[in-house]
């Protein structure tokens, strides 16, 4: 197993570096001005809308008083990946979407940007550590293996490390961070920033082994024998394919694979040309927006049903349209056109009813690149490695909703491999909850609910 430094040199001139931050880091005065607008609501709707229940009004109040490190601590205690979540969360449908200003007279508070300001400022190079991990006697110090180095595992591992446990992440790629590193639209988060966060998590004491695939380099039973607990955070697998004629070959790519190469790979000299993206989810919209911003001649989203049925966020779709993306609904690809050399030059599109092609409606759409964003396969092999771990009908790992424990008492799971593909913030919540459940299981009461005050009203009668 190779131990690789978290920060690898990424290729020069990667395509993603051409797309700057949509929401750059606030300056101190900007952050304070925005923070001071917050009403500091009680039992605030924004907290309830956050899958990790960050105490948003409190962290904002701390920015307003100049207590930026305290602010970051308020965020990270609840969501250890508060930095990347600040940048990648669809805040429009989460905290910001529920800001009381939405229903009143003003622009909602820019919670994501404030959260980025606090976490980025307080964790930048040269700042003293925000947290001191607990030290535990070796008898109490447990050892946990985390399969997959994405947000769910990073979160689980970080909370374990802070509590003085040994957390070892096994990542099959060369780089950890999961989708934060490989899949986030660059105008939200660049790969090097995701890797900085991984390095910060490692600074809490989390161990990372890259190039290690469970089932290939190490067997499940070996993990179960060596570790006190195992956490599965493998995310999702390869992009699904359409299964239509001439799909296989250059020019037709899975959307997440294309996004990963755009973010991490060496730049290609070929211009993007005309791009078609197939699918109606956020991955499809991301790829379409990225292509549009990278200068594609023409970008079209093909979706097989009505616009209302698209699973992508409305605000993302609206941005895509603003950026010139054409959205064609009730349309499906039924074949591809390639020249004698196999080069793609078009896609055959049929009109669709209820998602199914209508015979005789086929027409040709010229294109140079097709991104297929119709979902990703589930990583089912992991269940076979770990006895007691069961999958549901969709191939997702089955867990207890509260403890994130699988059918094997030592094995927990969270993130996309459990929920089928949600946000980074959901994965972080799963990882945190699993870490807490493990510690409860070991008799270490780290999960405390604030005892309700039992005022007896002594002499009130």
């Amino acid at each position: 197993m190779s131990q690789i430094a978290a920060k690898l040199d990424l290729p020069e001139g990667r395509l993603e570096t051409k797309l700057p931050d949509d929401k750059p880091l606030y300056g101190a005065a900007e952050a304070r001005a925005e923070a001071e607008r917050c009403l500091y609501c009680v039992d605030a709707p924004c907290i309830k809308a956050c899958p990790t229940s960050i105490d948003i009004p409190t962290f904002i109040q701390k920015i307003a008083t100049g207590n930026v490190r305290g602010s970051a601590r308020t965020i990270l205690e609840q969501n250890i990946l508060g930095y990347s979540c600040a940048r990648v969360c669809p805040v429009e449908v989460l905290c910001v979407g529920d800001c009381v200003y939405q229903e009143w007279h003003g622009a909602p508070i820019a919670i994501g940007r404030l959260q980025r300001y606090a976490t980025e400022t307080a964790t930048r190079a040269g700042e003293p550590p925000l947290f001191t991990p607990k030290t535990r006697a070796s008898a109490e110090r447990k050892k946990v293996a985390l399969i997959g180095g994405g947000p769910a595992s990073l979160s689980c591992a970080a909370y374990l490390a802070l509590e003085g446990h040994r957390a070892v992440i096994l990542e099959k790629r060369a780089l950890a961070g999961g989708l934060n590193t490989t899949g986030i639209a660059p105008y939200k988060l660049h790969a090097e920033d995701a890797l900085h966060e991984v390095a910060w998590v490692r600074s809490l004491g989390v161990e990372l082994q890259t190039g290690v695939e469970v089932g290939v380099n190490v067997k499940g039973d070996a993990l179960l024998a060596e570790y006190d607990a195992v956490f599965i955070g493998v995310g999702l697998g390869a992009d699904a394919t359409l299964g239509v004629p001439d799909e296989s070959g250059p020019g037709v790519v899975g959307a997440t694979a294309w996004i990963e190469s755009m973010k991490l790979g060496a730049p290609s000299a070929t211009p993007l040309g005309r791009v078609v993206v197939v699918g109606g989810g956020n991955t499809a919209i991301d790829m379409a927006r990225e292509c549009a911003r990278l200068g594609a001649r023409e970008v079209t989203i093909l979706y097989r049903r009505d616009a209302e049925a698209m699973s992508g966020y409305e605000h993302e779709l609206a941005h895509a349209r603003e950026e010139g993306v054409r959205v064609v609904v009730n349309a499906v690809p039924v074949g591809f056109m390639r020249d004698g050399g196999g080069t793609l030059f078009g896609v055959i599109v049929a009109e669709a009813a209820n998602g199914r092609p209508i015979l005789g409606t086929e027409h040709r759409l010229a294109c140079d690149l097709v991104g297929v964003a119709i979902g990703q396969a589930k990583v089912q092999s992991i269940a076979g490695e770990l006895p007691g771990v069961a999958l549901d009908a969709k191939g997702c790992v089955q867990v207890d909703a509260t403890t994130k424990r699988t059918g094997n008492r030592k094995v927990y799971a969270g993130g996309d491999c459990v929920n089928g593909g949600k946000e980074v913030v959901n994965a972080v919540a799963d990882g945190r909850d699993a870490a807490h459940a493990m510690m409860l299981e070991w008799g270490q009461r780290t999960v405390t609910t604030k005892a309700k005050l039992a005022w007896t009203g002594a002499a009130r009668g």
């Binding site: 300056g27 101190a28 005065a29 001071e36 500091y40 009680v42 409190t58 109040q61 701390k62 008083t65 100049g66 207590n67 490190r69 305290g70 601590r73 308020t74 003293p128 604030k450 005050l453 005022w455 007896t456 009203g457 002594a458 002499a459 009130r460």
Partner: protein, 448 residues
């Protein structure tokens, strides 16, 4: 993390943050919730003979979109039976033995003081705070600020209480006086173990112009109240500092007045407070604000290498001097950062109408006003600074005329855009030096 434990005149608490005697400390249930939230101490709502309150009781001043810059109240001391308060006090102390629980008291005769002190000390309070500050209602009955404004009376009553008290006695002072040293010294002479200040500032918060009745309105009338909240902080800071630097005082101070966050608290502590008391910010935002106060003060102390809050206490006192001791040769001039300027030119109008006419715009040399100290035109910089954001709207400073007053820097909305730069003048002396050397005198002044 620094050591935040506090000892104010022998009253110990896990941190310097106490709730001031006010609505947030009206009942035991509230105080226990506050302790759970992190408050280190609480001064119970003033006990005495229960009163009857009016409706309404509060009024506020908002400023620039933010609510409750200042709060005014006409509520009196506790309206709950003494026995109920005492029973709750006993319960709180039993459950929270390490927190500071101070009984604020206000009563009349020597015997009344004796009985009240015995009762609250029996209930387990850690100290007493004599309310000689309330400027509304109670003062009409010869208590509160009517005591705080009469040094002899204040001294006498303080002496009584010291005769009876087993726990430390803090005297809470009113700001509604000419010279804070008079009641401060009287309290110390009477034997006070410590001082707490300020109580509220006598005030009328506003007028309902439709009804032609001042606020807060009680039917068709109103009365003056006590003003508190962020607006009074500068007044309070001055009075705390004035006592802290006075040799004849020498007792610990619990600072009060507009403290809303850790930074405000740090300022009061730096000017000589051992503990600080908070009311209005809690009335506005709840007990939860103490989280940031603890956290923020810890960060501040850590960042400056201070191991305890005691190391901060009084750090800025010695640099608070009389005007006559200030260095007349210290000189600042303003500078504008063209990269940051947004071109609002608020500094220009502030300087021309409100200060000393030394900020100009445009490429031409400036025409100084006829009263200028420097002869000739104000020379424009060449080339004219071009702002990244403001283009040619970036103003420039006529440095020879700049008196270094700060006004432009204060009104500039952009952080770090207008900065004040020190200029060495070579000459350093104070007004008092000049007077001592006979080169100047205080015309008609009290120094003769």
């Amino acid at each position: 993390m620094a050591d935040l434990t506090t000892d104010c005149a022998g009253i110990k608490s896990p941190n310097p943050f106490w709730l001031a005697s006010a609505p947030p400390t009206n009942t035991g249930e509230q105080i226990m919730r506050a302790f759970d939230a992190g408050w280190g101490g609480a001064v119970w709502k003033t006990l005495g003979n229960p009163i009857v309150n009016v409706t309404s009781r509060f009024g506020a001043v908002d400023y620039a979109g933010r609510k409750v810059m200042g709060l005014n109240n006409i509520e009196l001391i506790t309206d709950r039976p003494l026995d109920v308060n005492l029973a709750e006090m006993r319960e709180v102390k039993k459950r929270y033995p390490k927190h500071a629980l101070v009984a604020s008291l206000m009563t009349e005769t020597r015997e009344d003081w004796r009985v009240l002190i015995r009762k609250v000390e029996d209930a387990g309070c850690d100290g007493l705070e004599l309310n000689f500050g309330c400027p509304h209602g109670m003062c009409e009955r010869g208590m509160g600020s009517s005591v705080g404004q009469e040094p002899k009376l204040l001294e006498e009553i303080t002496r009584w209480t010291k005769e009876f008290a087993k726990t430390p006695v803090l005297v809470k002072l009113t700001p509604n006086i000419g010279d804070i040293l008079e009641p401060g010294i009287a309290a110390v002479k009477g034997g006070a173990d410590g001082l707490s200040l300020i109580n509220t500032v006598k005030s009328l918060i506003g007028v309902d112009l439709d009804r032609m009745v001042p606020l807060p309105r009680v039917g068709a009338q109103s009365t003056n109240g006590g003003y508190c909240g962020p607006a009074v902080k500068p007044i309070a800071l001055h009075l705390v500092a004035a006592l802290a630097r006075e040799k004849a005082i020498g007792v610990p101070i619990s600072g009060i007045g507009g403290i809303s966050n850790w930074r405000d608290a740090a300022e009061f502590i730096a000017l000589g407070s051992s503990s600080v008391q908070v009311c209005t910010a809690v009335m506005h935002h709840g007990y939860r604000i103490v989280g940031d106060m603890i956290d923020g003060l810890n960060e501040f102390l850590d960042a400056r290498g201070m191991k305890s809050v005691r190391e901060l206490s009084g750090r800025a006192v010695s640099s608070f001097v009389e005007w006559g001791d200030l260095d007349l040769g210290y000189k600042l001039v303003a500078g504008i950062d063209a990269k940051k300027c947004i071109g609002c030119q608020l500094c220009v109008t502030a300087c021309w109408d409100g200060a000393h006419q030394c900020i100009f715009t445009g490429p031409a040399d400036g025409v100084r006003p006829p009263h200028a100290h420097t002869k000739g035109p104000a020379v424009a910089p060449k080339p004219l600074p071009m702002g990244l954001l403001a283009g040619d709207r970036v103003p420039w400073i006529d440095e020879p005329e700049c008196v270094g007053c700060n006004l432009c820097a204060l009104v500039c909305p952009v952080e770090g855009c207008v900065t004040m730069r020190e200029v060495e003048t070579g000459a350093h002396e104070t007004w008092n030096d000049r007077v001592a050397q006979g080169r100047d005198k205080v015309p008609g002044g009290i120094h003769g």
